[in-house]
């Protein structure tokens, strides 16, 4: 990725940005995020199939914002998150430079968020068949069995909130689960507390989640929590016709339109 390195170095050299957020070599076969503030550090940038962490998560973090204007290495899942963050007014065009990377690992420039949206129209979110099959099987279970399935799956959850930490869209400075006056959901990691947390997390991401799987990749216990968000994506598509970030349509579930269907009111 010599082209990426050259481009990143040039951005720092010209002082167009103060930091380049990208992927570097990690321990074992893993990658680790690099925050390059010096031209020489750009040499450590890499991009390959192991680079799956969603770097958009750093755009809203206080410690990273302090470093100054960033350039961010953005493969397709990161681009989706950037667009959704733009929809939610968390980032502005002039405050970052996007080092886009296509699915063919080619560099691509984006002059605006609208350009990202245009690009993404040819890169729609697609839920793989292995997941749709699992989700269909879970949905076909009788209620009691489905409930037992999730209680069992969430049994090993100890509420470390890595799923929350890794998600670019979990940027609330104070999460509902951390509120205690009043306490909305149980903080304890018992079966009820675990269920409450994961249901709340999935619901809060309904219509916003861009299916990057960062939550699942971060979970130290290997719990398939991405099945919940994938299922929500399907539900949003079935009921509202589309999913995926859109500057024009705004948030599917939190935008009111006079011609919205009201068939759910009984």
């Amino acid at each position: 990725m010599s082209e990426l390195i050259k481009k990143a170095a040039a951005l720092l050299e010209s002082k167009s940005v103060q930091v380049v957020i990208g992927y570097g070599k990690g321990t074992g076969n893993r990658t680790r995020t690099i925050f390059a503030t010096q031209v020489t550090e750009c040499e450590n940038l890499i991009f390959d199939s192991r680079c799956v962490q969603n770097l958009a998560v750093y755009l809203t973090k206080l410690e990273i914002k302090k470093l100054g204007k960033p350039a961010i290495v953005a493969p397709v899942p990161v681009l989706r998150s950037i667009l959704q963050l733009a929809v939610e007014n968390q980032i502005t065009e002039s405050d970052l430079v996007i080092l886009g990377i296509t699915s063919e690992s080619e560099l691509i420039d984006f002059e605006s968020f609208a350009a990202i949206e245009t690009f993404l129209t040819t890169h729609k979110i697609e839920i793989e068949e292995k997941y749709t099959k699992t989700i269909d099987a879970i949905k076909a279970m009788p209620v009691a069995e489905r409930f037992a399935y999730w209680v069992k799956e969430l049994e090993s959850c100890f509420k470390c909130y890595a799923c929350r930490g890794a998600c670019p869209l979990c940027y609330c400075t104070r999460c509902t689960v951390d509120d205690n006056q009043p306490q909305w959901i149980s903080v304890a990691s018992h079966p009820l507390g675990n269920l409450e947390w994961h249901i709340m997390r999935a619901m809060h991401l309904a219509g916003r989640c861009t299916d990057c799987e960062a939550c699942y990749n971060a979970c130290p216990m290997g719990i398939p929590i991405h099945l919940l968000t994938k299922s929500m994506l399907q539900d949003v598509a079935d009921n509202f016709g589309s999913y995926g970030p859109s500057l024009d349509k705004q948030n599917t579930l939190s935008s009111f339109k006079p011609d919205d269907k009201e068939s759910f009111i009984r």
């Binding site: 890595a162 890794a166 903080v187």
Partner: protein
């Protein structure tokens, strides 16, 4: 006590397991889940996996559960009735398949719960735990037990340590009187031991740093760019603390339902933004860098200053589980 050596044949392991289950013990052992192994409540011997370096979760859950009821209360017009959980009957637990690092962790963990206040619930649970550890024949780049006074065949903390020998049978080192009792109760399974070389069966774990030197360096490193540099990618989750076999910070939560409720002790982590946040809104550890410093200083300066040993056993779980690949060895070796 003097360690006594025995030989246990491979098939006898299963028999020992079944005898313990038959005797009413709860057994926590490594069970495969996808690519991971997790300490789980296991009832059937065949559910145990041998394919793991260390489990993803730590064995501390049997003495320091993620959620522990301290007491329950019931209010009526006349009085408030309190039922102290310390009076509960705690299960007899056998930890099967702990690694030497896991067993060693019980020493600093027990210290923490026996400082100025002797924690009755913790001690009641601890007394009922029996540790059957298995030496390590494999290690990975995240392991550093030999740098914190442990090692792949270390016996500290275990009641019995099994080491797999080249023929497939196991060397059984009996370390405590509790261990000796188990052997005498199952004497048909244990044979008098020959002098086979244990060392050659063990994984090689290189020494990565000198703990005493690290402790000395940390005295003067409170203000240092290393904390921000090494924690920049931190996502502010509690994964490192929750998989750690030594981390023991907790938070108290009350759960009320009408006129009754419970007080719970729940795990807490220095990685969280809420950690040590004052009511006033001030937080002495406002950034992830300050929180990462707290984690390192606690384990390698504060704990050793107090009790000579580190608050870390070198299992490497924190580094393996970190979603941002923040590596504790990387920080320690760069000081």
């Amino acid at each position: 006590m003097q360690t006594e050596n025995y030989l246990i044949r491979k098939p006898s392991l299963e028999k020992l397991f079944n005898d313990l289950i038959g005797g009413g013990k709860t057994i926590y052992a490594p069970k495969a889940k996808g690519d991971l192994a997790l300490f789980s409540d296991v009832k059937t011997y065949s559910d145990i996996t041998e394919d793991y370096i260390v489990t993803a979760n730590s064995a501390k859950l049997v003495v320091f559960p993620r959620t522990e009821k301290l007491f329950s209360y019931h209010k009526s017009k006349e009085k408030t009735e309190i039922t102290d959980a310390a009076g509960s009957t705690f299960p007899d637990v056998v930890l099967w398949g702990t690694r030497p690092c896991d067993a060693a962790a019980f020493i600093p963990l027990t210290d923490t719960f026996n400082g100025d206040y002797k924690d009755i619930i913790f001690n009641n649970r601890r007394e009922r735990v029996f540790l059957i550890s298995f030496s390590c024949s494999r290690s990975d780049e995240y392991c550093f037990c030999t740098s914190v006074n442990s090692g792949p065949g270390n016996t500290s903390g275990s009641d019995i340590l099994f080491t797999k020998l080249s023929g497939g049978d196991y060397l059984a080192e009996v370390i405590t009187p509790k261990g000796q009792l188990l052997v005498s109760e199952n004497s048909d399974l244990f044979e008098t031991k020959s002098e086979e070389d244990k060392e050659q069966q063990l994984a090689v774990v290189a020494t990565r740093f000198n703990q005493v030197e690290i402790q000395a360096k940390l005295q003067n490193l409170f203000e240092n760019p290393v904390w921000d540099d090494k924690s920049r990618a931190c996502l502010g989750c509690g994964s490192c603390a929750y998989v750690c076999p030594v981390c023991s910070c907790f938070d108290i939560q009350d759960e009320a339902h009408g006129n009754k409720g419970t007080r719970l002790r729940c795990w807490d982590s220095c990685g969280f933004g809420l950690f040590t946040l004052h009511t006033s809104g001030h937080n002495p550890r406002e950034t992830q860098g300050a929180r990462w410093r707290q984690r390192i200083l606690h384990k390698f300066l504060y704990v050793p200053n107090k009790s000579k040993i580190a608050g870390c056993v070198g299992c490497g779980r924190c580094s393996r589980s970190c979603p941002a690949d923040i590596n504790i060895l990387d920080t320690l070796t760069s000081l």
